[in-house]
Symmetry: C2
Subunit: 228 residues, 2 copies
């Protein structure tokens, strides 16, 4: 929904495409993003790719190692906690604001999001479902008419996708479609209090579904992953 289409071949378009791939877990954390390789894939020059990678680096979705190259970011346990703490500060109040400003059109938009998410799940496209699930949160910020916060939430949601890729634990589960449904009701009723409370709990549930036990910093380096 609302796939923002930029003129193809521009750094914006490439960045959006790469971000989507990362968000849908087609590019797992740690993947090396070689400039030549990507440039060829999009049939453009490295100049364009570099701009795209820098943009993604600014959103902390890729890590730029000097003279080493770009890699899909691998948030540490600590970074994971910070991301959800930031979300806890921003999203509940934003959900309240959105609920208070909710219009029938906005409700329809969100409902379409949820439907698309279910359709993706049924089709076995779990990556796409995850992406849509994240964008549900971004859409709420947009409805709250807070573009600045929307930008922050957008970054946090994308980073959350990386965190889920690394630390997701509780398999299966009802995911969070239940939580989104409950939020929808609060939105329909324009119940700001309820929306804020539900969002707060929803984020807590998300964190609870992660395995954030300290495994001595990051699994970035092979050395640690192999324990020697």
């Amino acid at each position: 929904m609302a796939e923002t289409a930029a003129k193809p071949g521009t750094s914006d378009a490439v960045a959006a495409d790469l971000e989507l791939a990362i968000h849908e877990h087609r590019l797992p954390p740690g993947t090396k993003l070689g400039e030549d390789e990507i440039a060829e894939a999009y049939s453009t020059s490295r100049t364009t790719i570099r701009a795209a990678l820098q943009a993604l680096a600014h959103r902390r979705l890729v890590e730029l190692k000097r003279n080493r190259g770009a890699f899909v970011a691998q948030p540490s346990v600590r970074e994971a906690r910070e991301v959800f703490e930031a979300r806890a500060m921003l999203e509940p109040r934003t959900a309240r604001s959105a609920a208070e400003r909710m219009t029938p059109e906005s409700v329809a938009l969100l409902q379409a999001h949820i439907d698309a998410e279910h359709a993706a799940l049924d089709a076995g496209e779990s990556g796409r479902a995850l992406y849509l699930s994240g964008h549900f949160h971004i859409e709420i910020a947009r409805i709250a008419d807070q573009t600045t916060i929307e930008a922050f939430v957008s970054e946090l949601v994308s980073r959350s996708s990386l965190i889920i890729a690394l630390y997701w634990h509780r398999r299966a589960a009802l995911c969070d479609s239940q939580a989104h449904h409950a939020l929808m009701q609060a939105f329909i009723d324009k119940d700001g209090d309820l929306a804020e409370e539900l969002m707060k709990n929803h984020l807590l549930d998300l964190v609870a579904s992660l395995d954030l036990r300290n495994r001595t910093s990051i699994p970035t380096s092979l050395r640690e992953a192999l324990g020697r």
Copy 2:
């Protein structure tokens, strides 16, 4: 304080330098940032400058107009409100967290900041004082040990500097050194409740010192500025 020094000539160094200049109001909102001009000033190529300008564009400190060039951003009234709403969501709770984690070293660091700010004011370097005053807020996030939120606050503080340049109204006034002093006492006492409350009020005072009456959108275009 903590002028993060990057290897000179790199895009990071140029970006930091430009951001400082913008923050200190040496480059007022709307200033055209020609690539050739800057490249010559830093005796480097346009490639490096473009990367720096893109980084600043990500932080919304400069606006990149396609085929037109880069300009120091001119936040709209609406954007100004949004920035301070976001700060209100993030900073009070961060101040609480910082107060609870305060150490003698942190207190000394913040005090040094305030002293430097006063020294700059006495020396008539109001731009530098403004910069230091903003960094006081960033330092609090750092003490709270929240790098993710610190990054957001850093962006918001820099944007606030642009907003102040455009909409500052209440001349003179005690600025906010008073507010920072009060916060210091809360920090020394490790009084989280008080710190949160003081920060909240401090931000409200800041907004109140701005003239955010709707002058039909932005003063960006000459047409509107001239009212025809």
